[in-house]
């Protein structure tokens, strides 16, 4: 017998001798199969739960900006994009900085502290884009986009509009100026004081002679910055005239400021638009600069002390103007009991 036959015989006899009991084995098989099915079902269930939990938890975290450390006095800024410029308004203060059409507005922020930003758009889609911070968020009309902006180092970071928004899209530069915390709060304090104070306006009237806001102290004053070269100003003027007719009788004074305008053009504009109240000529735009105006028309309501009570941007300002005036007039009545 050769070795192959011997191997064959030995293996066969071992296999025969270890013959198992099949019935019991089949019962064990059924138990094992059921256990495996259960494990698989549990595995699938766990996987589904993990996916579901992820789908529920992660998007809500994406939408919510990280908690703002409001207690440590981190500022909230309302950033508004408009055609074509930016306005940075520090919540809880009178500080509002704006720029546009080539004039750069500065967003001053403290270093190493999260600034809570609420991003708005007055008209079309813009985006708040700061390439050097690798940051960009869209500003959508009718929607507030919130985020935290945190700058680590002192310096200036140029920004621009990152979404095409019309003819002067490229003329919307802004600058983020990051300064140490103490310097920032100092800046905010002085700027707020400067802006909260009474505003005095004076200049040459179109109709000749000079005009000063001192003459209207004690009354509400509505100042509209406008210009003959500005289409929306012309189309919005009629509605504004109606408001003026209604409220001049109640003691409210109205003033138009022809910004960066020529005298003859402004005269023609005042005549064709039937402006019945005084028009100041601001040839060089100094008043606009002082009021941080970068786009006309814009309408300010100054209270009896000459402080800015409201700022209404755009040609449809007259819609909300009456409501503001009513509120201010009734507030005055309440404060002065008969």
């Amino acid at each position: 017998m050769n070795v192959e036959e011997q191997v064959r015989a030995a293996l066969e006899s071992v296999a025969l001798a270890t013959r198992p009991e099949e019935r019991g084995a089949y019962q064990r098989f059924l138990r094992r199969r059921a256990r495996r099915d259960r494990m698989q079902a549990a595995g699938v269930a766990v996987l589904l739960l993990v996916l579901l939990a992820g789908a529920v938890v992660l998007p809500s975290q994406l939408r919510r900006p990280p908690a703002v450390a409001g207690a440590t006095g981190s500022p909230t800024v309302d950033v508004t994009a408009f055609q074509w410029g930016w306005r940075f308004a520090y919540a809880g203060t009178h500080v509002s900085v704006s720029g546009g059409l080539g004039r750069t507005a500065e967003l001053v922020v403290p270093v190493g502290q999260a600034v809570h930003v609420r991003l708005h758009s007055d008209d079309v889609v813009h985006s708040f884009s700061v390439p050097s911070l690798r940051f960009e968020r869209q500003a959508l009309p009718g929607r507030v986009t919130e985020f935290n902006l945190s700058v680590a180092e002192v310096g200036t970071y140029p920004g621009r509009c990152g979404t095409y928004c019309g003819l002067a899209h490229t003329e919307m530069p802004f600058l983020i100026r990051a300064m140490p915390r103490e310097a920032f709060s100092g800046w905010l304090h002085t700027t707020a004081n400067a802006m909260a104070g009474p505003i005095s306006l004076e200049g040459r009237l179109l109709s000749g002679g000079s005009w000063s806001s001192a003459t209207t102290r004690g009354r509400l004053l509505v100042v509209t910055l406008t210009a003959s070269w500005c289409g929306p100003c012309r189309s919005g003027q009629r509605a504004l005239n109606h408001v003026a007719d209604a409220y001049q009788a109640k003691g409210v004074r109205f003033l138009a400021v022809a910004t960066q305008d020529g005298k003859s053009r402004a005269l023609r504009f005042a005549r064709t638009s039937r402006i019945t109240y005084p028009v100041l000529l601001d040839r060089s735009g100094t008043i606009a600069q002082r009021l941080q105006v970068t786009a006309v028309p814009v309408t300010f309501v100054l209270d009896r002390d000459g402080r800015i009570a409201a700022r209404l941007q755009g040609q449809s300002a007259s819609r909300t103007l009456s409501a503001r005036l009513d509120a201010l007039l009734s507030g005055r009545a309440a404060k002065q009991p008969p």
Binding site: R8, A10, S13, V14, T18, E22, A25, F29
Partner: protein, 172 residues
């Protein structure tokens, strides 16, 4: 697709024994053999729609068993070598005729790959080409593994005394 439990039950009863025996011959251990055979059959059951009749579920199950055995070997190869060298699992599987016993203990001491080839060639009666396909090895490798395995067995059998002496001598 629901599996016909009656059909699979019949397949189980008729093939379990052979798979179990293959497991014993490969591992030399009844517990591991049962584990391998059961596992192979559970996996076969789960693929029954694909591998069941008219295909050949028996060879599918055998292939699964071999693959499982190989991964067990990979995992436990160090442990297995130690056990073999110490003779810890050297108890006879069953009471056997003397010459079959000698041959079996010689088979058990073959390196795993040689032993697998020998078992498939002489217990499962597969050709060298079939073994090569089943193990995913080149034909030449299977041939040389088989030849070396047989050669070693032949030497062991022609010198059983020396073998016995060697084993005795190594025992503490």
């Amino acid at each position: 697709m629901p599996v016909d439990d009656h059909e699979f039950g019949a397949f189980f009863i008729s093939h379990y024994g052979r798979l179990y025996a293959l497991g014993v011959l490969l591992t030399g251990d009844r517990g591991q053999a049962e584990e391998l055979a059961q596992d192979a059959l559970v996996r076969t059951y789960r693929r029954w729609a694909l591998v069941g009749p008219p295909d050949d579920p028996a060879s599918f199950a055998r292939r699964v068993l071999l693959n499982r055995h190989r991964s067990l070997l990979r995992r436990g190869v160090v442990e297995a070598r130690q056990l073999l060298r110490l003779g810890a699992d050297a108890q006879p599987v069953v009471d056997q005729p003397e010459d079959a016993m000698v041959m079996w203990s010689a088979v058990r001491q073959l390196p795993p790959r040689q032993r697998t080839v020998i078992v498939l060639r002489y217990y499962e009666d597969l050709s060298e080409a079939e073994v090569a396909r089943l193990l995913g090895l080149p034909l030449g490798t299977v041939k040389s593994l088989g030849r070396r395995g047989l050669g070693r067995l032949r030497r062991r059998l022609t010198a059983p005394a020396a073998l016995a002496a060697g084993r005795q001598g190594r025992r503490p």
